[in-house]
């Protein structure tokens, strides 16, 4: 099953889990399954039209899905997705 890496900034919405196995044959299907399990993640990932928010990046391996097929990017069993959010801390 594909896995999904949750960044620290979003782990309070996944019960502290950092690496989550998530079924789905496309990125979209996997994210849908994710937010079904953790509905509080929805506003952090997608807008009202179900599109990825512009300050959230999802990478499949080392490639940004925006540069592959976006949310329609197909997933294989062994794939690993990473959510990369905007963080601003530095002080």
């Amino acid at each position: 099953m594909p896995t999904l890496r949750i960044p620290a900034a979003l782990r309070s919405y996944t019960g502290g889990q950092s690496e989550i196995p998530i079924a789905g044959d496309t990125v979209s299907a996997a994210l849908n399954n994710l937010v079904k399990r953790y509905p509080e993640l929805i506003p952090h990932l997608v807008n009202e039209d179900g599109e990825l928010r512009p300050y959230v990046n999802v990478f499949l391996g080392s490639e940004n899905i925006r540069e592959i097929q976006g949310l329609d990017t197909p997933l294989r069993e062994e794939d690993r997705l990473m959510i990369i959010p905007s963080i601003a801390g530095g002080r």
Binding site: S12, H44, P54, M82, I87, G90, R91
Partner: protein
């Protein structure tokens, strides 16, 4: 013509001179180089210390803050003796103590659209050690418009990111993050905390990248984003590409001069707690104390995280962490008066917004949070 090194400098930099990739010529390049460090906090501390020690000839420091007790857990360039001093002066003194042969220029002012181009134009490299989205977009845009590299680092709790954004050779910050998150959605370090050594790790990586760029050696982090996690001790990289629709470095840029970054991001250009909502939605700590003393029928909702109860608490308050509030509205009664609070008033301001959005009207935000309560009402509670 690169500057010459004195005998004292040759001895000081002997460990550099022994490395063939640096050598005498590399050290002279470092002496000729100039780097602007924006922010002398968590990231700026190791960046400035290491660049000074390495002999970067001219280092600029931009910050407008003074050294505070709560900085010392991670901002290692400052010490207890510097409490209350200007950060740029405290940092400069430490850097010149390490290396009196360098020049340190200080800018005791916020980095803004009004002064950014003037300050940055005289430096070869910009290092982004800021703590907020407006200044990060500003730092990026200045670098793109001036054609300079912007060495990026960012931290939260146990996670860090680093990259080198150089729009002449690769993507910029806006290619990856075209728009900032809406105000309040992403917690800041002042709200969420940060492991003290994390800025040490990420800042040291930023300093490393600066030295590599100056020396022209190795593979800079251009087109790559480093993702560090201290708990897993993992370093992962993802590939970043130039975004053809980038509003500043794309082929048809919309941003051709600096903009109002606080308006663009909807938040102030600093990571200080504002602590109030305004518009009559706030209640002062002393007023709250008086209301409670008079036995008012008032419900106190603490929207902090459970572990923060071990630090301080207000008697009679109920805990509903901000992240759970939306799902637990049914536990609240809109007919009853309520006061929401957190550490210093920022998270509770968002709680108030959420409650008002859900139809609650009899709700107020404790201005300055439980820290204001500890200062003004109950000195047995610590400020954190």
């Amino acid at each position: 013509m690169l500057p010459q090194l004195s005998h004292a400098e040759i001895l000081r930099y002997s460990r550099h001179l022994l490395i063939p990739e640096v050598g005498l010529e590399g050290q002279r390049k470092l002496k000729a180089a100039s780097v602007l460090v924006i922010g002398t906090g968590g990231l700026g501390s190791p960046v400035s210390l290491y660049l000074a020690a390495a002999g970067v000839g001219r280092i600029g420091l931009v910050d407008y803050d003074v050294v505070d007790y709560s900085n010392l857990q991670r901002q290692v360039i400052h010490g207890t003796a510097s409490l209350g001093k200007l950060k740029v002066e405290s940092a400069r003194d430490r850097m010149l103590d390490i290396n009196p042969d360098i020049h340190v220029e200080v800018y005791n002012e916020p980095f803004t659209s009004a002064n950014a181009m003037r300050i940055a134009q005289d430096y070869d490299i910009i290092i982004d050690g800021t703590d907020n989205f407006p200044t990060r977009y500003l730092s990026n845009d200045v670098a793109v418009l001036l054609g300079k590299p912007n060495i990026y680092g960012s931290i939260y709790r146990f996670d860090g990111q680093a990259s080198v954004f150089d729009a002449r050779r690769g993507p910029c910050y806006r290619c990856l993050f075209p728009e900032p998150p809406p105000p309040g959605l992403v917690p800041t370090c002042a709200e969420g905390g940060v492991l003290g050594v994390l800025p040490g790790t990420i800042g040291t990586i930023q300093a490393t990248e600066a030295l590599k760029l100056i020396l022209g050696i190795g593979e800079p982090l251009i087109g790559r984003l480093l993702l560090f996690n201290a708990l897993d001790m993992s370093f992962e990289y993802v590939r970043l590409r130039k975004n053809p629709n980038c509003k500043i470095c794309g082929p048809n840029p919309e941003v051709t001069e600096l903009i109002d970054y606080e308006a663009f991001c909807g938040v102030p250009g600093h990571d200080h707690d504002v602590g109030s909502v305004g518009g009559g939605w706030d209640i002062e700590a002393k007023e709250l104390a008086a209301r409670l003393k008079n036995g008012g029928n008032l419900r106190l909702i603490d929207v902090r995280e459970p572990h923060e109860l071990q630090i301080s608490r207000i008697e009679g308050a109920e805990l509903i962490p901000l992240g759970q509030l939306a799902a637990r509205l049914s536990e609240l009664d809109s007919a009853q008066e309520m006061v929401v609070f957190c550490k210093s008033g920022s998270r509770s301001a968002r709680a108030l917004e959420l409650l008002v959005g859900a139809g609650f009207r009899k709700v107020k935000n404790l201005k300055g949070g439980i820290n204001a309560w500890a200062r003004e009402v109950d000195p047995t509670q610590p400020v954190y």
